[in-house]
């Protein structure tokens, strides 16, 4: 990231401290954080102590040179914040108290870093374990610090309120206390407020609203967990006579359920069940640990939550099959964002999961036997493809078909599906006459390539002595491996193609998709063609390839054509520490991550100002196949974060783990190339739409103009604007 005002130390610290508050609820939401900061001052002493401790920890982390990006999330300071809140709640201010606070905050920081370093590689978060450690160390110690006085304000808090707010505040409090909330919501809200060691339905209510503001899924999980705990408590009789103690019920259930149901696991119906399952476990821990620790004179606080969450997370990490309850791959600090990014990535970003395999031939061939095909693709060798060339009448040969040479596919070049190393070549087996098979050497002449560790591809039934390669050769995608023949178990010339995990001829097959290909006129991405499909490789277009190359360091000045006096917005391509490329807008600070493969350009994420032109470009060129395909529109799906309407968005957020009814879609059409092979100019027309309940709302339509291998301009039409925005792009030398 280039240096911007966004990264001054002061701003960094402010962000770190602010987010320490929201991170307690696994959030980076600044509004929620500010609300929590405010609420912590409902107990002013505790609020001040918490803020001080967070500041101390953040400052310490900065001085000690810990990772700035982690610091910015509040991860180093939220445990100190909790320590501060706890100390501020239970002890009287004074010199000794200040010293203990300082020690507690720094200890929390050190424990956070140490525990993070130990748990991090195991895929586990430290949660609030450092806070517990500090409190457990300080509580017995504090008994010997005679200068430290226990706080009694918790008992005489109305006096305190009077001192702060006078008569009006007192009346407000009386009025609020006059509120007779039913038992259940009252308990829920008090439980929430207990996260900040408070016992106030009002604070709890505001916290709940804040949680709802931050995340609908987290909120609904908290409610589900509370109800579950309530029911469990009733059933087991933990709480006799209906006297439910919110400290017993506590926030542990809620926090554990949010963690295992929405934060560390991708939210889904299954994750809600998983969260519900965590409730009795937490309950057992609350009851058991509570009495166990009480003997030691230690408070249990959030220990049950930490243990339940880590247990539920760790067992998921040790699974073999993770189809259900997938873990959050990249923490985005919002269950919604995690879910939407995950579903979107699963649909779109398969390119990152697979080695890109092309079809191993030229021209349009037909799949004559697909996966699990009837005659020979059976058992351990089921995931294989057979290809033949057919003419318009569906015949595979001309004339009588008596000779091998009559078959259209005979002697056609067979190519490497991707870059790789030749590991095995057999080329001495004779072609069979038409109609006969060689079952002894059933694979016939074969070439096996290694593309990656544990990823091999194999082409078989080649013409004898047609392979120009030998084991050890490095081949590039599209290089000749041999010619299609009729050797092995092949009654008529055809090409057998399979992917396998081991290098041997006769290895069992592996289901593996082909990266990009055309099936008839339709584009397929990361799929396996089915029997009967006519398939060919995408014809790559040099202009599109060049225009979307966007190498790091490439800069582009974007101006408004109708307002030439306005300063241009400069976009520049950067690469981050993980080798991901992004466009950065120097004017607005917006960032659009993109990915470019051999055949496609796609934006993967956008962060920042949505009024920037870069955001328009992000929506306009969301995915571009680098192949000129005039005719059908290429569809794609945007993440739901594109959704702006608050009502629709919140409704969808609530339902998201179970059902998707809003579909932001993207469609792209290619046209206007002056030469289909070497166009000097062509146009892409894209449409971003929102579909819900059978309605379609256009968000943006864009014409992208490409000229001479570069992005030349955009014409953006937004629904609420009468005339389109015309942008001109000029590369900066």
């Amino acid at each position: 990231m280039p240096s911007t005002p966004a990264n001054t130390p002061l701003r960094l610290l402010a962000l770190a401290v602010l987010r320490s508050y929201s991170l307690i609820f696994f959030s980076q939401h600044r509004g929620f954080a500010a609300l929590l900061l405010l609420l912590s001052f409902a107990n002013p002493g505790a609020g001040a102590a918490g803020l001080t401790a967070a500041l101390l920890a953040a400052g310490g982390a900065w001085l000690l040179g810990f990772d700035r990006e982690v610091l910015k999330t509040g991860a180093y300071s939220f445990n100190a914040l909790l320590v501060g809140l706890a100390l501020g709640t239970f002890y009287e201010p004074g010199w000794a108290y200040g010293l203990v606070l300082l020690v507690g905050a720094l200890l929390a920081l050190l424990l956070t870093v140490a525990l993070g370093g130990w748990l991090g590689p195991r895929g586990l978060p430290p949660l609030s374990v450092p806070f517990l450690g500090v409190i457990w160390l300080l509580t017995p110690a504090a008994e010997q610090f005679h200068a430290l006085a226990l706080n009694e304000r918790g008992i005489y808090w109305l006096n305190e309120m009077y001192a702060v707010g006078g008569e009006p505040l007192l009346q407000l409090i009386h009025w609020l206390n006059g509120w007779q909330l039913p038992l259940m919501p009252d308990t829920y809200l008090r439980a929430l407020s207990s996260v900040f060691f408070q016992d106030s339905p009002l604070v709890g209510l505001l916290m709940a609203l804040g949680l709802l503001w931050h995340s609908r899924i987290a909120f609904s999980l908290s409610v589900v967990a509370f109800l579950g705990a309530y029911a469990f408590g009733m059933a087991t009789g933990v709480y006799q006579d209906g006297a439910i103690n919110h400290y017993i019920l506590g926030a542990n259930y809620i926090m554990a359920a949010v963690a295992v149901g929405g934060v560390f696991v991708i939210p889904s119906a299954a994750s809600y069940l998983w969260a519900l399952l965590s409730v009795p476990v937490t309950a057992v821990l609350v009851a058991g640990l509570g009495s166990l620790l009480a003997r030691l004179g230690l408070p249990a606080f959030s220990l049950p939550f930490c243990l339940t969450s880590q247990l539920f997370l760790y067992v998921l990490l040790l699974r073999v099959d993770s189809r259900w309850l997938p873990l959050t791959p990249i923490q985005r600090y919002s269950p919604e964002r995690n879910l939407y990014a995950f579903t979107n990535d699963r649909e779109r970003l398969q390119s990152q999961l697979y080695v890109h395999l092309s079809l191993p031939f030229l021209g349009e061939w037909q799949v004559t036997q697909g996966y699990d095909g009837a005659p020979t693709h059976q058992g351990e060798w089921a995931q294989a493809l057979d290809f033949m060339l057919l003419d318009a009448e569906g015949r595979s040969y001309r004339g009588a078909g008596q000779n091998l040479a009559d078959f259209y596919c005979y002697n056609k070049p067979v190519l490497a599906p991707a870059d790789g190393t030749v590991v095995e070549v057999v080329s001495h087996i004779d072609d069979n006459p038409v109609g006969q098979v060689n079952t002894r050497q059933n694979w016939g002449n074969t070439v096996v390539l290694q593309h990656a560790p544990g990823l091999y591809s194999k082409v078989s039934h080649l013409r004898p002595h047609s392979s120009p390669v030998k084991p050890g050769d490095l081949v590039r995608r599209g290089e000749l491996l041999g010619a299609c023949g009729n050797s092995g178990r092949s009654p008529e010339p055809h090409l057998h193609f399979q992917v396998q995990a081991t290098p041997y001829i006769g290895s069992r097959t592996l289901a593996y998709p082909l990266a990009y290909y055309l099936s008839g006129p339709a584009v397929r991405t990361f799929q396996v063609p089915a029997e009967g499909e006519s398939v060919q490789n995408l014809p790559l277009n040099p202009l599109l390839r060049l225009a979307f190359e966007l190498p790091p360091g490439y800069r582009l000045d974007v101006c408004d054509a109708d307002n030439p006096a306005a300063p241009p917005q400069r976009w520049e391509v950067f690469t981050d520490a993980y080798n991901k490329t992004y466009l950065y807008c120097h004017r607005t600070g917006a960032v659009a991550y993109f990915e470019r493969s051999l055949a496609a350009f796609s934006f993967t994420a956008f962060y920042g100002d949505e009024s920037s032109w870069l955001y328009l470009f992000y929506r306009a060129a969301y995915r571009v196949l680098l192949s000129y395909l005039p005719g059908p529109e290429l569809p794609d799906t945007f993440p739901l974060t594109l959704l702006r309407s608050p009502v629709l968005k919140w409704a969808q957020d609530f339902a998201a783990p179970f059902v998707r009814f809003v579909h932001p879609t993207f469609a792209l059409r290619y046209h206007g190339a002056d030469d289909p092979y070497h166009p000097r100019r062509l146009q892409l027309s894209s449409r971003a739409e929102l579909r819900y309940f059978g309605r379609t709302r256009v968000l943006q339509t864009t014409d992208i103009e490409l000229v001479h291998g570069a992005l030349a301009g955009l014409r953006v039409q937004l629904p609420h604007q009468s005339s389109p925005l015309r942008l001109v792009c000029q590369p900066v030398a």
Partner: protein, 460 residues
């Protein structure tokens, strides 16, 4: 029916190759073309009649494309207009995806009228006028330069143009073909081609996009194409490495033979002409090994003409008369001559009777109806004894005949296209006297006098 009297004749026994039915002719009656009855076609559209099979045109094109595209990733065919520039034929090929290759301003206009986008027209040939060059440049077509004078003309013209004209260099080279076609383009071996390329690149006024060669016609050997492809690829490589000018396409021209039998050939064309697959094999194989990266292989353009259209064309006609020549040979006079069947100067065309015939055959001379000694279609062909009014079908006449035919002595007949269902569509009307007359102008003094010419005054 009363049998026609024919004077008896004694002739030398010519048994011919025997089969188990005796010396029965191998000829088979061709009563239908693509499902349409010859008799009906002639009745509806008159005799003689050219017939083209759309099904065969498309099949040929698809086969040609398949032959190349399954061997080479980027292949484009440009339909050679001069082979047959009937609009219907051109449009069939354009519909299938072919570009246009034209060699004159008139053909260029035709291509535009057929809806071919300017950039998809390749303008070949040694005779392009300044106005034609200008038009092609404005339409962004590729001009295949043939000689330095054209290059200079275009360089001068390019100065006044907003966009750099796109050009390709026609190269002639020694591919081992005799006679070497060195009259078109710039010679490779003596450095002329490199000279032209250097000038084009150095001028900065033209955009060099392609290299083109065309090594001959009716090539019966595939090897020269390999040599030509290698030489062009080497030249393209030099352009890239020495002039920093990537070549977008290599145009290997045409010259691929149909299965017609050349005059004087010992074996029939069906046995001797290599298939398009064999040519594709050699060309693709050479280019794959030429050193280009797989994703940077140049586009391969082919200007196949004859091989795509020849066997889709038929000429239907009628026997006008039979007679004995002085040496006793049988002669059959047909209602079409060399003015329509220009290719009979090159090929021994296969001719089939269109109806039932006797199993007796006899060598016969086939004459056309011209009152002109050269009008001889076949010098000697073994045919059943045909009578006046019998109908015949000439095969594989689709290439060149419908462009090189002449209005000479007789008018040119109609042409029909049989669509995929075998339904006939007239695609060119038979010529009429009015059609011919409308271009002619008669000077006033040759017109019949409306008023009696004034007699010059004479001194009396």
């Amino acid at each position: 029916m009363k049998q026609r009297y024919e004077r008896p004749l004694i002739r030398k026994l010519n048994a011919g190759p025997l089969n188990k039915f005796g010396s029965r002719s191998e000829a088979q009656a061709v009563t239908h073309v693509d499902g349409a009855a010859v008799e009906d076609l002639l009745a509806e559209f008159g005799s003689p009649l050219f017939v083209l099979s759309e099904k065969q045109l498309r099949r040929n094109y698809q086969q040609a494309v398949r032959a190349f595209r399954t061997r080479y990733p980027r292949v484009q065919f440009a339909w050679s207009y001069k082979t047959n520039y009937l609009n219907a034929v051109c449009r069939v090929f354009h519909q299938e995806g072919a570009w246009a290759e034209v060699v004159s301003g008139f053909e260029y206009q035709k291509a535009l009228l057929n809806g071919v986008p300017g950039p998809q027209i390749l303008f070949n040939g040694p005779g392009k006028s300044r106005a034609e060059l200008q038009l092609a440049a404005e339409n962004d077509s590729v001009i295949h330069l043939d000689h330095f004078d054209e290059l200079y003309e275009l360089l001068g013209l390019a100065e006044g143009l907003a966009r750099r004209p796109r050009v390709a260099v026609r190269v002639n080279l020694d591919a081992g073909v005799y006679p070497q076609w060195d009259r078109f383009g710039f010679n490779l071996e003596n450095g002329q081609a490199w000279n032209a390329i250097s000038r084009i690149v150095a001028s900065g006024r033209l955009e060099l996009v392609g290299l083109h060669c065309h090594i001959g016609t009716f090539m019966l050997s595939t090897k020269p194409y390999g040599v030509a492809a290698q030489k062009l690829a080497d030249l393209a490589w030099s352009c890239l490495t020495q002039l920093n000018t990537p070549i977008q396409y290599l145009d290997l021209g045409g010259g691929f033979p149909s299965t017609n039998t050349l005059k004087g050939a010992y074996l029939p064309g069906t046995d001797t002409a290599p298939s398009l697959d064999e040519f594709a094999e050699v060309i693709a194989d050479t280019l794959h090994r030429a050193g280009f990266r797989p994703e940077e292989l140049p586009l391969l353009i082919l200007e196949a003409g004859r091989v795509l259209v020849d066997d889709a064309g038929y000429l239907l006609g009628t026997v006008l008369a039979t007679k004995r020549l002085a040496d006793g040979r049988r002669a059959t006079i047909l209602d079409f001559g060399v003015n329509l069947l220009f290719t009979s100067f090159w090929y021994d065309h296969r001719i089939s009777p269109a109806g039932e015939f006797s199993h007796h055959t006899e060598d016969t001379v086939l004459f056309g109806p011209m009152c002109m000694n050269i009008d001889q279609l076949r010098e000697s062909v073994n045919l059943p004894l045909l009578n006046r009014g019998d109908q015949v079908v000439v095969h594989k006449v689709g290439a060149y005949n419908m462009t090189q035919w002449m209005q000479f002595i007789s008018l040119r007949p109609a042409i029909v296209l049989l669509d995929a269902q075998g339904r006939p569509h007239r695609i060119r009307q038979a010529e009429t006297v009015e059609y011919l007359q409308q271009l002619e102008e008669v000077p006033g003094h040759l017109l019949p006098a409306a008023v009696a010419p004034t007699r010059p005054a004479t001194a009396e």
